[in-house]
């Protein structure tokens, strides 16, 4: 009996010990500055942020390191675009890898998932993909809690504002369109954008919304939805789609819906759109945060793109999405702030210096891109509200204070893509699919 107990105790101890040894790997030596990447490893969006960050870090390391010659080490944690995995990944970066700074390429609900962890660890974090105004509102309302957060892409609200200008200048004035049917996916993003469009499109652009169709993102057959839109006889369709965007766009083409369609179509943001849709995307247009594909590039962005393409060749995405550039320039800003503040800690010092970041990028003598951030209390004049720690955008032509929040890009039937709005960035003309009269 006693021997039996001893044996069992030994076995139990063995089991517990094996659990102990599956502990995390010992943290590395304290010397390098550790940057964490959080995002999905295999999506185009995640890869854009990751590769943009990698290039910036390689350049900084090659130039002799940072903060007195220390090298930067990048560690990665996969979210698989899953909320719970995102939280685990954020914990992993902080508890195991002890990162100094995090760059993120997360979608809305994943960012919202790890946000409470960020306020707990108080790790400086730069987000490059989500544009959810709700996160910026949290920074505005509870600055002390959320001040370590910076969003390096213009928020939805600013995007929608410029889209209304596009409606006014191109859709209403140039195309003479007066009525629209809005086709909106049933997501929080879709709902938020619609609300703004609904408030602004009629008074500002004089375009009337004659029908508003909300669809389920898993819809198999869009034929009834397009039929319904056509029956309302609008001048064009406005699509708001961020999830499974290829389904509405490819069925639009397959059905040859006799109405022009523009709007927000996340699938069309990368160069792969052409191949992914089997060459069926001609005539579609979408808004894109800056710097988009198809845009004329300044020299610094060109150099970064050349490095990117030398490194990754045909591996998709062949041109990073906007968040790749935002991660690249964002890392530069974050480390420049760290140099001025003497490191990422103490947090308040770094945050103040990060708020003072102002990277202005010129093309042919014109201000082309700007990586600066709204400071607490600073009011954006047109919308008369605060956007603390959002990238500094300019939504009033002629865009002298920064880049606009977005551009409109247009796909043509020969597979090329150009910017058509605003005028300062335009290098192509707005067009509709060939079957639309």
């Amino acid at each position: 009996m006693k021997i039996k107990f001893a044996l069992k105790a030994f076995l139990a101890a063995a089991v517990i010990m094996s659990a102990y040894t599956i502990a995390a790997p010992a943290s590395a030596d304290e010397d390098p500055v550790v940057v964490g990447f959080i995002g999905s490893f295999d999506s185009d969006v995640g890869k854009s942020t990751l590769r943009g960050a990698e290039i910036a870090i390689e350049e900084l390391n090659e130039a002799g390191g940072v903060l007195g010659g220390r090298q930067i080490k990048l560690v990665k944690a996969d979210t698989r675009e899953d909320v719970a995995e995102g939280i685990k990944a954020y914990e992993y970066l902080n508890e195991v890898e002890k990162v100094d700074f995090i760059v993120s390429g997360s979608i809305d609900d994943v960012s919202l998932g790890w946000l409470p962890r960020m306020t707990e660890y108080r790790t400086p974090t730069l987000d490059t993909w989500t544009s959810f105004i709700g996160i910026i509102d949290k920074v505005v309302e509870d600055y002390d809690k959320y001040k370590m957060y910076f969003m390096n892409v213009a928020n939805d609200y600013a995007l929608a504002m410029l889209y209304v200008d596009f409606g006014k200048d191109i859709l209403a004035k140039k195309m003479q369109w007066k009525t629209v049917v809005v086709l909106q996916e049933d997501t929080a993003f879709g709902g938020g954008v619609f609300e703004l469009i609904d408030q602004l499109l009629a008074p500002e652009a004089k375009i009337e919304i004659v029908d508003h169709i909300v669809y389920d993102v898993n819809t198999v057959d869009f034929a009834p939805i397009y039929s319904k839109a056509v029956q309302a006889t609008p001048d064009f369709i406005y699509l708001i789609s961020s999830v499974r965007s290829q389904v509405p766009s490819s069925q639009y083409v397959k059905l040859q819906v006799p109405l022009p369609m523009t709007g927000i179509n996340v699938a069309a943001l990368g160069m792969e759109f052409w191949g992914d849709t089997g060459g069926m995307g001609g005539g579609l247009s979408t808004l894109s945060p800056i710097p988009s594909i198809g845009i004329d590039m300044d020299d610094r962005s060109k150099a970064m793109l050349a490095k990117y393409q030398a490194k990754h060749g045909d591996n998709r995405p062949v041109v990073p999405h906007f968040n790749g550039f935002n991660a690249y320039f964002g890392i530069y800003n974050a480390f420049a702030a760290a140099e001025r503040a003497g490191g990422f800690a103490p947090l308040d010092k770094w945050v103040t210096e990060m708020e003072n970041s102002d990277t202005k990028i010129y093309k042919d003598g014109e201000l082309w891109l700007r990586y600066a951030y709204w400071k607490p209390g600073e009011i954006e004049p047109r919308t008369e509200r605060e956007y603390t720690h959002n990238i500094k955008f300019d939504i009033t032509p002629p865009y002298e204070d920064g880049a606009p929040s977005m551009v409109v890009i247009q796909w043509y039937t020969d597979g090329s893509v150009k910017v058509v709005y605003p005028e300062k960035y335009a290098n192509g003309d707005f067009s509709v699919p060939p079957w639309v009269k």
Binding site: D42, N218, D221, S227, Q246, V247, K254, V257, T277
Partner: protein, 284 residues
């Protein structure tokens, strides 16, 4: 409006019928839900994509290749997982669910998680009574009707088909009369794999390819089987039309965002009111 609902509902229902029939067959013969059936559909779509679009082969051989891949997947699933757990339907369901998750990870590794669109099998648009329909969808519906009709003839008129029916009605009785239920199951799984892959090709030309695409058709197939009732091909065809038309009507008339909710509520109501399904046999 009415002609639009009728035409579009009919076309969508044809696809759903094809989507569900392979799933129904396995449920009838083995009394198990093959939760890897969604993965089977996904394999059909991706194999066709790899052959027709990445390797640029002609459409017909690519289609045959996709169907063969489906057969192989069905047969392997049966031989490896189902034979091991054949006495326990829940164990088969769990293991096929794990298999589906593994297949999803595999597809991510091979094809990346980026969604892909497929070229239509038949490009162009037709106007039927003023309703625009893509020829691709008409083709999908025609093929699914031909396949389903052929399947009905097969099950009722051929020796093998009758044996399948015998096993699905009464496995013990079938064994006594000299049918090997294991062989019949193997054939059924292969056939179901072929039908799943075929449905996958058409579903992918309707929608898009992505590694999460297996969940939705699986749930639709479950709904069709539950509503139609076990063991009835005709029953699942009718159920596919109920669900297809309900979706079209919801999307057109009621509210497009509630599309998924109505199907689920239908499952719940049918299971509570007529647990054997609308056309099923008296057995649970």
């Amino acid at each position: 409006m009415l002609s639009q609902i009728l035409i579009q509902g009919f076309l969508l229902s044809g696809l759903y019928g094809l989507l569900a029939v392979g799933f129904t067959m396995i449920f009838s013969v083995g009394r198990v839900l093959n939760l890897a059936f969604g993965a089977n559909i996904m394999i059909g779509g991706y194999v066709y994509f790899a052959l027709a679009q990445e390797a640029a082969l002609p459409k017909l051989p690519s289609f045959i290749g996709a169907v063969l891949a489906g057969v192989a997947f069905g047969v392997v699933t049966y031989l490896i997982l189902v034979r091991r757990f054949r006495d326990d339907p829940i164990a088969v369901e769990i293991s096929t669910l794990i298999l589906a998750v593994v297949m999803q990870a595999l597809i991510v590794m091979i094809f990346s998680p980026a969604p892909r669109s497929m070229w239509p099998l038949l490009p162009g648009v037709a106007h039927i009574y003023g309703v625009a329909v893509s020829l691709n969808i008409v083709l999908a519906t025609v093929v699914s009707w031909v396949v389903l009709g052929g399947l009905l003839v097969f099950v009722h008129k051929t020796h093998l088909g009758r044996a399948i029916r015998a096993v699905s009605m009464d496995p013990k009785g079938a064994t006594i009369s000299g049918i090997d239920p294991r062989q019949i199951s193997l054939v059924t799984w292969g056939l179901s794999g072929a039908l799943g892959a075929m449905a996958g090709v058409f579903l992918a030309t309707y929608t898009q390819l992505d590694p999460g695409m297996w969940v939705f058709p699986l749930i639709t197939a479950v709904a069709v089987v539950i509503v139609g009732g076990i063991g009835s091909i005709i029953g699942s065809l009718i159920a596919a039309h109920i669900i297809g038309f309900m979706e079209t009507i919801t999307t057109t008339v009621i509210a497009a965002e509630l599309r998924g909710v109505f199907t689920m509520l239908l499952i719940i109501i049918v299971l509570l009111v007529v647990p054997k399904g609308l056309f099923g046999r008296e057995e649970i």
